[in-house]
């Protein structure tokens, strides 16, 4: 069926006849073969695009675990809708993300989700827009993605400025709760896509947030660094009382290792909204030195009713892995799609779009208010939590109403017995 024949769609939603290259002047009408659209009891087909191989493989596979247990968790919750996952590997490559998105739509995906990375997510967003298929982003922090006026794109992940605003507010809460405030801080940031966005955000937001400390130096390091001894030496030389790393996993490990080796003892290591310090490998490698690091990041809400259900299924299926935010957000992306489908009972893209816009999910797994999208498709109700490493586990310590333990700050010295 040609899309042109369907009436009753606004201009903005119509896919137009394609005008061809200048000069050639050919007019083509792509024959779009639409697959039968799921209705009522048929499962909702969710296309999951993640970088399971290539440089981001570790993170992509972590996200995938959240998708893999989604069906079982929804069943446990008696959610009442069936989902079917169509998985695709973007190979950490933008071009492949794009063709794979097209491919999933061709195989009948009713809604897309993914893709962890901002570049790949932005590419998929364009496909979703052109093919009129709703797309729920699980993780991607570049603010620009929801500033393009897209109609089919929804993001249930904070943008870099949101992450920073929350994280710095949590720092103040941390100082208030423990009665100890550092006067100086050093920002150590990985110079990659995410790190630079965060670094720029911190520079822009810092004056407005009236933080009690002064940032005495910003040290930006190579994402491919295999040795951070010079960087840590520089940080140590500033004598800053607070270390704020914007890191990934490997560099977070190198960073702490070097701090121990160089006996740099700040009051605390508190990251302003970055991954690395809550990941399993961080605990495994650093052991007692992983203790007391604080990550101010969006996190699973231990007091939500849904979290234990997710945690149980996760433990069953992945006994050796850690339940962290990649899993949580990927699961929530699927939850959002399932919730919309539950309300409309139709997988038709326009019905789904309307339902997604009206999303209001009170019960979900991440910290924050109900999941709802603003006119740009951004969920602005996500809140970060202060997650501290206690007994080799990430534990929510702030905000108090979601906390599972009390924060420890300043952190004990590297040689302290309380590190266990």
């Amino acid at each position: 069926m040609s899309k042109e024949s369907k009436s009753g769609r606004g201009i903005s939603r119509r896919q137009f006849a394609q005008v061809t290259a200048a000069g050639a002047g050919l007019l083509s009408m792509p024959a779009i073969v639409r697959h039968a659209i799921a209705q009522g009891n048929a499962p909702l087909k969710v296309g999951v695009l993640l970088p399971r191989s290539g440089v981001q493989a570790g993170l992509g596979q972590a996200c995938q675990r959240g998708a893999d247990i989604a069906e079982a968790v929804l069943n446990d919750l008696n959610y009442g809708v069936k989902i079917e996952l169509l998985n695709a590997d973007t190979e950490s490559n933008v071009d492949i993300a794009r063709t794979q998105a097209e491919k999933l739509i061709n195989s009948g995906a009713n809604v897309l989700t993914g893709a962890f990375d901002s570049g790949q997510s932005a590419a998929i967003a364009q496909v979703a827009e052109q093919r009129s298929i709703p797309y729920v982003i699980n993780i991607a922090a570049a603010p620009q993605i929801t500033e393009q006026g897209y109609k089919y794109v929804f993001r249930n992940f904070p943008t870099a400025p949101m992450l920073i605003t929350d994280a710095l507010a949590l720092q103040k809460d941390l100082f208030a709760a423990t009665g100890k405030t550092p006067k100086t801080a050093v920002l150590m940031s990985v110079n990659d896509t995410f790190g630079t966005a965060m670094q720029n955000g911190i520079k822009a937001l810092f004056p407005k947030l009236q933080m009690p400390y002064e940032i005495v130096d910003v040290i930006s390091y190579d994402p491919r660094a295999k040795d951070l001894s010079v960087e840590v030496a520089k940080a140590k030389a500033t004598k800053a009382e607070l270390v704020m790393p914007v890191s990934r996993l490997n560099d977070a490990i190198l960073l702490v290792q070097e701090m121990v080796k160089q006996r740099y003892e700040p009051m605390g290591i508190v990251n302003p909204g970055a991954p690395g310090m809550y990941e399993q490998q961080f605990y495994k490698t650093l052991g007692k030195y992983s203790e007391f690091c604080v990550s101010n990041v969006p996190w699973l809400n231990p007091r939500s009713k849904m979290t234990p259900v997710l945690a149980k299924r996760f433990k069953e299926k992945f006994p050796n892995d850690l339940l962290e935010l990649n899993v949580g957000f990927t699961f929530e992306a699927i939850l959002i799609a399932a919730d919309a489908y539950k309300r409309t009972k139709s997988a038709h893209p326009f019905a789904m779009i309307e339902a997604l816009r009206a999303t209001k999910i009170e019960d979900h797994v991440m910290v924050g208010g109900p999941i709802a999208f603003n006119s740009k498709g951004q969920n602005v109700n996500i809140k970060s939590a202060a997650v501290q490493n206690l007994k080799r586990q990430p534990v929510v310590v702030l905000p108090a109403d979601s906390a599972a333990a009390k924060p420890v700050f300043p952190m004990p010295k590297w040689g302290a017995k309380s590190r266990g």
Partner: protein
């Protein structure tokens, strides 16, 4: 921010130690090129394989990488020997781009075999002394870095002895200097080539085992090590043993200094800048023989 001369000195000492391990890694590359004029674009991949072997032997048997490096070097020797015999020997006298594509496909396969078998997550060894430091006056130097550097120096010395003292080593050098001549005097050049490739692989194997004490391994580190090895070897002189050692130390130290003086994220610009400079001013490298 002001840094004292002492901070800089400390950084240079660490750079030198790191450079020694770099040197060993680069030796593997330079030996292979020097003898058979084959550029091993799968060098970093072999390094990563060795790092995984070290992780596995530590996890399963608790063997310290300093000891495990002997069997690991032996395994990589066998791998290199076999690879040369089966694949690379057919590519000795073909244009560089063909060697490049051949080694590239080997590299793609190796990295992804690592990904499938070991998974994408970073892995390392948890040594009890991993975070200890030697204290010499004010100077703080971490133990693992010193051990790794010592290991690298010992192996480099052994390699030097092999090429200067043993019959096989001398025969390999003869084959490198004069291929036709070596055939004339009845040397089994194919065997020598295979041994050479094996030795190159063993060097990078040992370097991998030492490096795992300092760095976590994940499959996609490989490309970076390949590039690093190339930078070092070109600066020192492709094919020159002394050059690889000098290049490794130079890059180790210059990275440390650049990290101190510039924005640390710019420090590899310094290495690539150095590489471009050497290519232009002395394309045969600091220790290479002029073509």
């Amino acid at each position: 921010m002001e840094f004292s001369a002492f901070d800089l000195f400390q950084a240079v000492v660490k750079g030198l130690l790191t450079g020694m391990v770099y040197s060993l890694m680069a030796l593997g590359l330079t030996v292979i090129f020097g003898v058979m004029r084959v550029v091993n674009f799968a060098h970093g991949e072999m390094m990563v394989v060795a790092m995984y072997l070290a992780v596995m032997s530590f996890a399963a048997l608790g063997i310290d990488p300093m000891l495990a490096l002997i069997p690991i070097a032996a395994i990589l020797f066998a791998f290199g020997y076999g690879l040369q015999r089966t694949l690379i020997n057919r590519f000795i006298n073909v244009p560089e781009h063909m060697q490049f594509i051949l080694m590239l496909s080997v590299a793609i396969i190796l990295v992804n075999v690592c990904l499938v078998l070991a998974g994408p997550d970073a892995q390392g060894v948890q040594l009890d002394y991993a975070l200890d430091s030697f204290e010499i006056g004010e100077l703080l130097i971490d133990k693992v870095r010193v051990y790794a550097a010592l290991g690298a120096v010992v192996i480099s010395a052994l390699l030097y002895l092999f090429f200067s003292r043993t019959r096989t080593g001398k025969a390999i050098r003869a084959a490198a200097d004069n291929h036709a001549g070596a055939l004339v005097v009845g040397l089994d050049v194919n065997r020598l080539y295979a041994i050479t490739f094996g030795i190159g692989a063993a060097c990078v194997g040992a370097a991998g085992a030492l490096t795992i004490m300092l760095v976590q391994v994940q499959p996609f580190l490989a490309v970076e090590y390949t590039l690093l090895a190339f930078t070092i070897v070109i600066i020192g002189g492709l094919g020159s043993l002394r050059g690889a050692i000098a290049g490794g130390l130079l890059i180790g130290v210059s990275e440390a200094i650049a990290g101190f003086l510039l924005e640390p994220s710019l420090k590899s610009v310094f290495s690539f800048g150095l590489l471009i400079l050497v290519l232009l001013i002395r394309p045969q490298g600091l220790f290479g023989k002029a073509a």
